[in-house]
Amino acid sequence: MQKITCESLIEKACELIENGTVSRVIGWKKGEFDYDLTPAVFANADEIKKNFIYNDFSGANFSKYLIKETRKGEGKVLVFLKPCDTYSFNQLLTEHRFDREKVYAVGIPCEGMADIAKVKAAVGDGILKITSEGDELIVENLYGDVNKVKLADVLAERCVNCKSKKHTAYDELMGEDGEILDNNRFDEVEKLENMTEDERFAFWQNELSRCIRCNACRDVCPACTCEKCVFDNPKSGVENKAIADSFEEKMFHIIRAFHVAGRCTDCGECSRVCPQNIPLHLLNRKFIKDINTFYGEYQAGEVEGSRAPLVNYTEEDIEPNDAVKREE
């Protein structure tokens, strides 16, 4: 498949803004380096030509930004959606979180996004320049070295386990659409399931005890869109860190996982942004796997308006007791 180029996206964005289809463009803005792109809203073609960038580090999922962005300004907003982003997009539409009429969605193909931490682990620190050449990244560093690394070897976790190259929503598609993929995303969950209870507890205790309660996972999560979150309410008693030696992070993450169960599309943003590198997506994936097991295959965000099993009673639904027994 032909890799989509930054130039073609800039051309598309300028065309749509100049012919009046959209008034603003949500896109990735150039950073200090080649990998630190910031989500930004562009208001004219000049800004786009100057600062818009699309490369192997354009990982950020823009779906959630549409909630805020569609509430302001005149006209439509252009958003570029990678296949996995379209699932979040659909899920937000299903939950009536933004006005579809105010969005012009352009689907773009994706071969997976790189994780800069993995790049650094592979070729070292002090990176000055990263360019893409075929299926490789060429990395130049401060010390005069030029290293090559295969994109496939430094893909973000969610891209390694990519669930779909197919766009589930768009107004216009650039390039060819892909297919829903067979993937091994539940392998890690199975490993956890095969642990003893004590081992599993120790695993999560170790992971979650590193949590600093920065709320980045919640704030980036396209399923976490409550206008007022319980964890921001000082009266809830759980809005911040708790006393020393307690283990309230567990509660925070489990409440969050429960709240997004059946709505989480497995976009992987939570694990991408965690400053402590906690594999938070595994909690959500466990719920997805269980829902698949108990209620039949279901992928949140695959079809707009679909009723998730947890909010759709049918007579064939598994009895709660049976669900508990099967877990044992």
Binding site: F33, P39, L142, I243
Partner: protein, 341 residues
């Protein structure tokens, strides 16, 4: 100056760990973090630990006191205890400088006894940098990565670890490991420093300009139009504040255990929507205002109150960790720190 060969470094650590708790950055599968040293642990070569070294003095959560409540009566219980001595080994120049900044807050009158207690019992052993990252910009704030401060400064070469005491506490530390080290000249260290300095000059952020910011510049920057675009995609999470070695805002809260009430302190973030919320209103309602507060504090407010010293040490953690890759460097450049760029 004294040195030991890297082969005998473990013996030095063992000696230190027998004496008091010894902490140092150790590599894990999720990056480097400070860890209590045990035999077999290797000193990480990472520049930044995931979390900064501020945790040693200003932990993310700590219990302050307890209350016993019976009927209308309250008893206040002072639960503070004297800390034991400990050593933090391998602190980088940026984090070492952050302690000076935290000191101005916590040790100024009225002195925070919880912080002071830990600070007094700690010996800080710093480690000079040799392979800076592209995200490093400590030099911008006048920090010398080749000669970090602290009670003792160390330099690691291909074969040896060099030690130099900077004060009385440092001398006591050197004394402790005297049997395991030998007196030496500073030639190898100077060579390393010269080489590192050449690299530091080539860092992409080495020419970041600070002159426009600093003391009494509030009016110049407060209403700058750039804040809108800079803050537009800020998620309002606390990542930048919590990984920052100099951010020190805190919350004080009570927890009812059922047998009493524990009053504790935990990190808080000016990026959070409820940070300034009062019963009758909130004076920073938008993310723009909260975002501006954080950067104005580092670049203008803190310098105004502290003789022009900036509240940033250029460690680069926020550059690496912000979910949307927005950070102080981008803010400084957007606000005109680097004209014509």
């Amino acid at each position: 100056m004294r040195k030991c060969s890297l082969n005998s470094l473990n013996a030095v650590f063992e000696k230190l760990a027998n004496d008091s708790a010894l902490y140092m950055p150790v590599d894990g599968d999720k990056g480097a973090d400070y860890k209590k040293w045990e035999m077999g642990d290797e000193l990480s070569s990472a520049l930044n630990t995931n979390r900064s070294a501020k945790d040693f003095f200003f932990p993310q959560t700590e219990n302050l006191m307890e209350f016993k409540v019976s009927g209308k009566e309250i008893e206040v219980i002072d639960t503070r205890d004297e800390k034991e001595d400990f050593v933090v080994f391998g602190v980088r120049a940026c984090d070492a400088k952050s302690f000076d900044i935290l000191d101005t807050v916590f040790l100024s009158e009225p002195c925070d006894s919880y912080y002071a207690n830990r600070r007094e019992h700690a010996t800080i052993v710093t480690l000079a940098c040799t392979r800076p990252s592209e995200t490093c910009f400590c030099n911008v704030f006048g920090i010398d990565a080749t000669k970090p401060t602290g009670d003792v400064t160390c330099w690691k070469t291909a074969d040896d670890m060099y030690f130099e005491a900077n004060n009385e506490k440092g001398k006591a530390f050197i004394e402790k490991i005297a049997d395991l080290t030998e007196e030496c000249d500073s030639k190898a260290v100077e060579e390393q420093q010269a080489k590192t300095k050449e690299i530091l000059k080539k860092l992409p952020l080495a020419d970041l300009k600070t002159e426009k910011f600093g003391k009494d510049k509030t009016a110049e920057f407060f209403d700058a139009p750039e804040w809108r675009e800079l803050s537009t995609s800020c998620l309002g999470c606390g990542t930048c504040t919590y990984v920052c070695p100099t951010c020190q805002c805190y919350d004080i809260k009570d927890y009812d255990t059922g047998h009493g009430v524990i009053r504790f302190r935990c990190w808080d973030s000016c990026m959070y929507s409820e940070f300034t919320k009062m019963a009758h209103g909130n004076n920073r309602l938008s993310q723009l205002e909260r975002f501006r507060q954080r950067f104005m504090h580092k670049l203008v407010y803190y310098p105004t109150n502290n003789d022009g010293v900036f509240g940033c040490v250029g460690c680069g953690r926020c550059l690496a960790k912000c979910p949307i890759s927005m950070n102080i460097v981008k803010v400084m450049k957007a606000l005109g720190g680097n004209d014509g760029e």
